[in-house]
Amino acid sequence: MKYFQPQSVDEALEIAHTSEATFLAGGTDLVLHMRTGKVQPLGLIDLGKISVLREIKEIEGSLEIGSMATFAELGKSELVFRKAHALWQACQTMGSPQIRNQATIGGNLGNCSPAADGLPALLALGAEVCLSTKAGNEILPLESLLSRTPLLEQGALIRGFHIPMNGQKSGFAKLGRRKALAIARLSVAVSVQLNGSRTDNVRVALGAVGRRAFLSEALGQELSGQELNNELLEKGVIEVQRIVREALGTRASAPYKRVAVAGVFREALTSIIPEGGQ
C-alpha cells in the first residue's frame, strides 16, 4: 500500500486521479476498518497536512467549513456556535474528547455511517457540499449527495461545506446508550427561520433511522409558516413518529425508535424555542 501526504488540494487531486488511492481524513473510522479488513485501500492520501481544508470562516453571508475541520474545532468555534447551533451541539456529544480531536466533518460524510453525528445537523442547516475532482468542482445540496450510490466517485474529494447564514435557529438532540462514547441510536436536527413567532423554511433531519441520515422535506413544509409554540411541537411529534414508523418498517429496532423519537424531537425543537416556551 502506498501512502501520500500531499501539501495542497491540487496535489491531492492529482494523486487521486492517477493512483486509485483512498482519501484519509481523520482516520478514526478508516484506520479501524482497515484493521478489521472491512476496507482494503490500494493506497492512502492523507489530507492532514493541507491546512486550507481545516478552515472555519464566514464568507459573504455563508459559513464555510473545510472538510478537515475536526469535531473538536467545530465544537469550540464561536462562529459555529452562533450560526450553526445544531452542528455545534452535535459536536459536543460525538464520541469522546480523543475522537473529537481527530475525527473530521468531511470524514464523517465520507464514511457516511447511518448514525453519523454531523450529518443530520448539516442537512437541517441546508448545507451544500463542495466536491472536487481533477476535472473540476461541484457544489450541491447535501441531501442530493446523500441520495447518490456510491456516495462519491473515485477521486472525488470533499472540500467542505457552505452553510447559508439566513438567521435560522437550529437545534440537535441525540439518543445514545450512554452519555459518552455513544453511537447515536436516534438523532434529530431541526432548523427554523423565524418571522416574529412564525416559522419559515423549517428543515428536519433524522439520523440512525435508515441507511443514511435524511431530510424530511414533507415534515419541514408541514411545520413551516405557523406559530412556533407547543401545539406545533406536538404536531411535529406525531409526524416525526409516523416518519420513523415508515422508515423503519419491521426492523427490530422499530417498536422502540418510533416511540422514543418523540422525546428526541422534542428536545431538539425545544432547544430552539426561546425561554418560556411561547
Binding site: M1, K2, Y3, Q5, L24, G27, T28, V31, L32, M34, R35, G43, L44, D46, G48, K49, A72, G95, S96, P97, Q98, I99, N101, Q102, K179, A180, L181
Partner: protein, 155 residues
C-alpha cells in the same frame, strides 16, 4: 516503508514505518514506550491516549504516518519520581489508581485538560475524562484527583 519525523517527549526521532502501522504500535514496538496501553483497539477505552500537537488522541486510531511532523507526549514524558506532575501526585494520594491499566491514559487526559484550562468545572473535568474507561475505581476518585491537581496548580 515511509519515513516520518516526530518529536516524542521532547526528543526528535526519524522512523521508517509501514503505511498501515498504527501510532500505538510505532510507540510501543519501535520506541519501546510501553506506558501507552492497548485495551480495545477501537478508540473506545482511551488506554492508549497520548497528546499529539496539544490534543489528546487515541493512538490506536491514528496511523504513525499521520503523525509525521507532530509533537507527541506519552506518559513517559510526564513527571518522574523526583518531581511528579500534580496530576500524578493527586492520583496517588487520592487513591485514584487501582489496577492501573487505564492510568497512563487518564493522566494524559487530565494533564491536557489542565494545560488548557487551569480552572475546570466539575462538568468540564467529567467531559475531559469521558473518553477514558475505567473498570476498577468507578471514576469517583479519578475525578476528585483531577480537581485536586487543578487546585494545586492554582496555588
Amino acid at each position: 516503508m515511509i519515513e516520518i519525523k516526530l518529536v516524542v517527549n521532547e526528543k526528535p526521532y526519524t522512523l521508517n514505518v509501514e503505511p498501515s502501522e498504527r501510532l500505538i504500535d510505532a510507540l510501543r514496538n519501535r520506541l519501546g514506550l510501553l506506558g501507552t496501553k492497548e485495551g480495545c483497539g477501537e478508540g473506545e477505552c482511551g488506554a492508549c491516549t497520548i497528546i499529539m500537537d496539544g490534543k489528546t488522541v487515541n493512538s490506536c486510531l491514528v496511523l504513525a504516518a499521520q503523525a509525521n511532523g507532530s509533537v507527541l507526549t506519552t506518559i513517559e514524558g510526564v513527571g518522574n519520581r523526583r518531581s511528579p506532575h500534580p496530576v500524578q501526585k493527586a492520583f496517588v494520594e487520592v487513591g485514584a489508581v487501582q489496577c492501573g491499566f487505564c492510568t497512563p491514559g487518564m493522566v494524559l487526559s487530565a494533564k491536557n485538560l489542565l494545560d488548557k484550562n487551569s480552572h475546570p468545572s466539575e462538568t468540564e473535568i467529567g467531559i475531559a475524562m469521558s473518553g477514558n474507561l475505567c473498570r476498577c475505581t468507578g471514576y469517583d476518585k479519578i475525578l476528585r484527583a483531577v480537581k485536586i491537581a487543578a487546585e494545586e496548580g492554582k496555588q
